[in-house]
Symmetry: C2
Subunit: 195 residues, 2 copies
Amino acid sequence: MSPRESANNVDPMFLSRWSPRAFLEKPIPEADLMSLFEAARWAPSCFNDQPWLFLYSKSEKDKALFLSLLMDSNQVWAKAAPVLAFALTRKHFSHNQAPNRLAAFDTGAAWMSLALAAHKIGLATHAMGGFHQDAAYEKLQVPRDKFEIQCAIAIGYRADADTLPTALRDRETPSQRKATQTIAAAGSFPKDLLY
Amino acid sequence: MSPRESANNVDPMFLSRWSPRAFLEKPIPEADLMSLFEAARWAPSCFNDQPWLFLYSKSEKDKALFLSLLMDSNQVWAKAAPVLAFALTRKHFSHNQAPNRLAAFDTGAAWMSLALAAHKIGLATHAMGGFHQDAAYEKLQVPRDKFEIQCAIAIGYRADADTLPTALRDRETPSQRKATQTIAAAGSFPKDLLY
């Protein structure tokens, strides 16, 4: 696949960050892992409600549990990552318990901060929508009326693509994007926007 | 208010970015504005669907329309910002039109990239959940069955706090955050987590 090319001048971190599947089985120092949550912590949010919660695997037992909640297609590669995490969203505002319309959106902002902070210190992250929903709520004991599990996240150091099963090796490359003009438009909703 | 202090070592950009209300009435060069959407463009997303769309004000007419859609409490300060934008989410996947459970979350990731890219080049951003929902869908001609408007965003250069109405001056300071241990926990859902 061709390398990523920026259509506009932009800080290189946005282009050089990507979501690999090949991870080294190398532990992450605790301080480095905490620095990722520290970055997430400072994301902006509606009413500064900070509706995000990250559960992460610390023990081998946590890791085995978290891994078992992923779809098989993700377990195949995510098992090598030293840390697995789940990004959760608190659905109601802390100050009045009203539904927070922007809770998922704000949690996405915290996740992006985490991903960029990881990239900055040589760690890679890969978010996964593919996990067993019912099992995840049950086994992680997440109160479904109050929290939503958004995604799982693999965190670790990149490994060579040839550590992956054959079928995944060819996909181990940064993905491309749509043209900038299809994601940013001047004025009202663009009538000619096609997907 | 006390300055922001990091509990863990983290790239300074996460702490130094904040959401001011005082903006200079100074235009943003087109290339700089485009570089923000370029950063958003490279955010990760479920199935690489890139479910975000940013509408931004280019003409004075756009600006007046966008401003009119904000709650009065936001219009008071956001009127000075040279660019207003709305962050939209496409609710269905492009490849099969199925509902995209992670669309808002992924759009939040794109927004965070935009906010950090702005900060990197000396621009400030401030997202607002407070806008007139029905009017925004109607006036921006957003197809409500297909897209969701997440928030409005003011973009521009910071001004002195004394350019703000008196009531807002004291609030013109970076907001604080909850302790890191309340947003990141090892293992399953923490039973003692209180809000």
